[in-house]
């Protein structure tokens, strides 16, 4: 067990290194001068040369990579071209809204999706099942920004129930915090709900057709406990897998959702950086988000051991 954990951790470190290397290489494979890209369009040649010397951009690539990687481990992700602030500072300033959004979306999506998937599997073949499946395919197909604007139009403009945009920090109160996050969570989570619901349903169906479930039913165990105790736990592996994969969906969707709902999170930071051609921000955020994905998957893998005693790596 311990060996498994250690091996997994080492793999994670290796994967992160690969991600970092790839992101590092992007800048150096691009047609422009890396120093000019880092310093921005407004810079003079003197400033560009100074940065080149400061970052040691004339050194061999491997050496540059190691130096850059060490800097990253120390928390140095570069300086934003436009605001002249360290990228790390900008990200930490704006992490709270993004984390809040991700958390509420995750909670909302998982609860709804798993329930729907379980119900659909339980009532497989009936109209309930069909409706769930159709809804999930449709939800999966409509883009986040279309859903977002429809929700705003209906619930904020026409009905006035919820705020149109923006984010309220938790310090301003739980209710107000939640109110600002309801619509964005729904918009962002819809595709996620669809995905998880389908996988849950399939996994549950697989498990429900197993012999031991039939035995349990034959022994007279009620459907509820059967579902929850036996089936769900055993279906846990694929469900947790897809939750892990879905984090990638969330990360990509956060960028768009924050733009639609004007949430001042890390996603918006990146979108603003696009138009400003602020590459250090783009690079820093990509690195962080990839790191999050890797760690989430690590956790997912580790949770396998808890869910399915048969899995031993």
């Amino acid at each position: 067990m311990l060996a498994f954990i250690i091996r997994r951790l080492l793999t994670t470190v290796l994967v992160m290194a690969i991600v970092a290397a790839f992101i590092f290489l992007l800048l150096h494979l691009s047609p422009g001068d890396p120093a000019a890209i880092i310093v921005g369009d407004n810079a003079t040649q003197i400033q560009i040369d100074a940065v080149r010397k400061q970052l040691g951009l004339d050194d061999p690539l491997a050496l540059q990579f190691v130096r850059w990687l060490l800097g990253v481990c120390r928390g140095d992700l570069g300086i934003s071209i436009f605001s002249h602030e360290p990228v790390v500072k900008l990200i930490t300033q704006r992490i709270e809204p993004t984390l809040s959004l991700a958390t509420t979306t995750l909670l909302l999506a998982v609860t709804i999706a798993v329930s729907f998937g379980v119900i659909a599997a339980w009532r497989v073949g009936t109209w309930v099942d069909r409706v769930v499946m159709v809804l999930s395919v449709v939800s999966f197909s409509v883009p986040v920004f279309v859903v977002g604007y429809l929700l705003i139009y209906l619930f904020s403009i026409k009905l006035g129930w919820l705020p149109v945009q923006g984010y309220a920090p938790l310090t301003q109160g739980l209710i107000v915090w939640v109110r600002h996050l309801i619509l964005p969570s729904i918009a962002l989570g819809l595709a996620y709900v669809a995905l998880i619901a389908r996988i849950t349903r399939t996994a549950m169906l697989d498990v429900l057709s197993e012999d031991y479930i039939r035995t349990a039913r034959a022994k007279g165990v009620a459907t509820g406990p059967v579902l929850m105790k036996h089936a769900l736990k055993n279906a846990g592996v694929p469900i947790v897998t897809v939750i892990g994969i879905g984090v990638a969906l969330l990360i990509g969707g956060v960028v768009i959702t924050e733009t639609v709902f004007n949430i001042p999170g890390v996603g918006r930071l990146v979108v603003d950086a696009i138009s400003q051609r602020d590459y250090p921000i783009i690079q820093g955020v990509t690195l962080i988000f990839s790191g999050v994905y890797v760690i989430v998957n690590l956790l997912v893998d580790l949770s396998y051991a808890a869910l399915d005693p048969r899995i031993r790596y």
């Binding site: 709270e96 149109v164 923006g166 310090t171 709902f261 004007n262």
Partner: protein, 534 residues
Amino acid sequence: MTTSRRTFVKGSAATAAAASAPGLLRAQTAPSAARTLRVVLHGDLKIFDPIWTTANMTGNHGLLIYDTLFGMDDKRIPQPQMVDKWGVSDDKLTYTFTLRDGLKFHDGQAVTSADVVASVRRWAARDGAAQHLFKRVADTPIKDDKTFQIVLRERYGLVLDALGKLETNLPVIMRKLDAETDPNQQVTTKVGSGPFIFNETESRSGQRYVYDKNGAYVPRKEAATGIAGGKIAKVDRVIIDNMADEQTAVAALKAGEIDFYEVPPIDLLDQLEGDKNIRLAVLNEGGNVGMCRLNWLHPPFDKVEARQAMLYLIKQDDILKAVFGNPKYYRTCGSLFGCTGLMQSDVNTDWFKAGQNIPKARELFQRAGYDGRPVVILQATNIAFMNNASLLVAQWLKEAGVNAELAASDWGAVVTRRAVKKPVAEGGWNIFITWGSGEGFDNPIGFVAHTANGEAGWFGWPKDDLHEKLRDDWAMATSLDERKAIARKLQENAWNYVPMALLGQWAPPVAMRANVSGFIPIPAHVPFWNVEKA
């Protein structure tokens, strides 16, 4: 409710500590919502140096935290602002100024002549009106901490007008150490002596910019008109929110989440007009005039025929309709000086009266020897007017046989690229679209886009000696009639050599919550003193 300096200092220390402590503490030091004004303006605040840039957003920032020596009132007469007493020598060549008492920078230092002279000199290196003035300035001696002089070589009627101008580049007064920054570099500090203080800890780049009332500011006793008079801050905090999404901003205004929106899209005004909680007002009567700046340095617009072609190419009505929809808010205009001011006329505007004539434009391009090379239009996609005007101009150019290319980016990138004088292939440009205030256009001296002094001038770098001479004459003129006559000559000459093409005039309303009042109507900028929330 004013805060004394001591409470301000304590407050700022607490804020600094709270910024590193968990967010729970932060909430206690912020002013209440009723004393906070949340506004959305026309763009993001990227540059903080009003002397360095002509961007109007920076002008708004400038008016908040800086102060000026003079200020135009509502009759466009320069009134003293930071200056207490001033006088002119009998030969009209020496202007002596004495500063008011109680002027302090936000870091506590008193404002001295040294700061003033350094700031004015820096401004003179950047601004068109200032350059026009300083061609005649012999020296700016400092007499003592509060007294300084401007000594002219020859008489000049617009000294105070220049020092009090309300168009960018604003002649704000900075600390000497900031003002001594190379004029070609931006000042990034935000320390002025104005009625508001920039709150660094609460501000977030790209997101919101927070200004707190400066309790130590001593406003003048006169009523506020234009940018003259007493600048009394009637709210404790102004927050400029950056909302790129117009629908979001309009919806936020309706929901009361913001108090003021500078640029509600005309197409969305009907959503706002029926709402009792929202008031529309036209703050800028002269509105704005769109301009299509042509790059004189490189072909094809180095040839006058190509520039003349643009006059026949552009259909102002199409552009205005596309962007503003409702004719109530726009008009076409053939005058070089806009159509709401005193200098307008219809001299030499037959091309305008005849309307769009693509075949003639095509012919003129051929006469200019246009060789088919790409003509690059810098398209700012995030500003509706610039975006749509660029698209239409590109379409018309193509119809006239010109190989138009759109270089899409955001306005910030356009601002950067328009400064490039190199050929197109090396990162230059041929056309970019922007606008200036109608009032600005009415002023051949104060308005930077009216210079024709070649590469020392504003982007596009038109050069015409007669134009410059006529501008000098206008500055020296002593009566309104004389100025109007010179303006007619200016326009007649201008539409022959064509410094730029104009795209029509519009005066859209701003939108605000009904409980907000006190906005002073001036062109181009939105001052926040005098504004209060009921």
